[in-house]
Symmetry: C2
Subunit: 325 residues, 2 copies
Amino acid sequence: MAVYTEVSDAELAAFLEHYDLGRARALKGVAEGVENSNFILRTEAGVYILTLYEKRVDAACLPFFLGLMNHLSARGLDCPQPVPMRSGGALGELNGRPAAIVTFLEGVCRDRPDARDCAELGRALARLHLAAADFKGVRENTLGPSAWPQLFAPVAARADDLSPGLQTTIARELAYLAANWPEGLPRGVIHADLFPDNVLFLGAEISGLIDFYFACVDYLAYDLAVCLNAWCFSPEGRFDAAKATAFFDAYRALRPLSAAEARALPVLARGAALRFALTRLVDWLNVPPGALVTPKNPLEYVGKLEFLQQACGPADLGLALEPGA
Amino acid sequence: MAVYTEVSDAELAAFLEHYDLGRARALKGVAEGVENSNFILRTEAGVYILTLYEKRVDAACLPFFLGLMNHLSARGLDCPQPVPMRSGGALGELNGRPAAIVTFLEGVCRDRPDARDCAELGRALARLHLAAADFKGVRENTLGPSAWPQLFAPVAARADDLSPGLQTTIARELAYLAANWPEGLPRGVIHADLFPDNVLFLGAEISGLIDFYFACVDYLAYDLAVCLNAWCFSPEGRFDAAKATAFFDAYRALRPLSAAEARALPVLARGAALRFALTRLVDWLNVPPGALVTPKNPLEYVGKLEFLQQACGPADLGLALEPGA
């Protein structure tokens, strides 16, 4: 729920003079996104999203994010397309913040995706990876394995306040992942946060992928691991092998997985579970008392991690090794 | 900044089956309104606002609010028009809350209205009062003079925390208003909260009036007093007689003011200033520590009140008595 920076009519009119979008016909702050201020902007030319980038987003990365969305749109992927200013650039300034206008995508998030939705997701993720293959931008994964110990250190002593034994669970998992993280898997641009609230559906089909502000270059299979955890468990936290198999099969019909990627899936999934458990734990322990935002419960991802720790191999996670692998 | 109740895709689809609006094409929570959960809803039929009424709104009053918007729309006033369900009613239920869909109005709020905007406001307010004249619904002003002492009592002892002497200032003003509140002025439906953020402009013209959830039956001239305070002061709190005169002249060109209404304006304006000072004071003193919502500063309205206390008559507020009155 976020509009950190208000935009007046006069400020908006001045900003729109940098674009060929005509005059503003409506502006409504959007109650989603925790990093930035987002508005639905209607102009004489159409409907858009106006984003003011707040301090939690590293401004140096904005050209990567906007360039990526532009690249993907140009290759036919349904994602927000940055609208160029008359100067040619996509990144302006509004109220002292970096700001951009992107196209508005129709569609509604799935609250409870089923196996067919997971197959749609697999196809969309493979298309994203393939369309980004020739994107030249580079951004390291700032929430990847090397960041996890640093995320944990400041909150470690308070982890047991949330759940007794949690500090030990996380410390052991960090050690396991440091010793077992795979090397040499295929790398490329990943979304890194493709949760159901970042995927829009119209009817049975995906109409758009949004929120590329965690995108980075990392193992492509790590993106599958993030999606596996976010899409293939029931609301009660039970793993759903049918959803996972639908997801993986649809993905590799477009981009085949190597045997090494498939074998690495369990450890990648453990890492992805720990990553979201850690960032949620940090948010949980840092929420001001009385705040109107309810942070997401870290224990959801601790529960998923505990399930993943029991998996003996990719088949336990719905991913059969390919024939001959 | 308000979405208190989330709406899933499945819940929305089920709700839309009560309407002839086709299927949902987009749903975005809106970061405005502090009383209810509001969403921009796009369906196959067009763009709408979906509102879930939260507990701060008295559900018994919803038929008055929705009936009023329907009445005004039917008379050509640009305001949200409730969309009827197939059953014929306008009030449904979603996620256990009363809920309604109204038409979306284009337009952008004026952050710093000028005198020409104030004239537009005067015409729009007169049209509202005239269009509502034959509306049969009744709702008393629950934030009128009889409510003010009850609003003040629980926070009186803490008023001086905000500004030394404030408790005495308010107590004296309550006594003055109780002794001097006018009687027998023309009554009718008033908006009661027609601040700049509830008035949409397209270019130089008003395209819509929104947020009728304080509307009630009271002195029509009290609505002018609310607008005078909200529109005819500079951002620094200085009264702007040119804006006020533009506002009043435009209003009474469509609905003439009686001499009694004009004479009552200073005391009505003092009452309107106190009403917003009081509700803001209550919100200010009750905001939880660390909350992300910044309540509006009550002292803005205390300052306006102090200015109004010095006014010797309506002419000091930009309202000349009509010739012969």
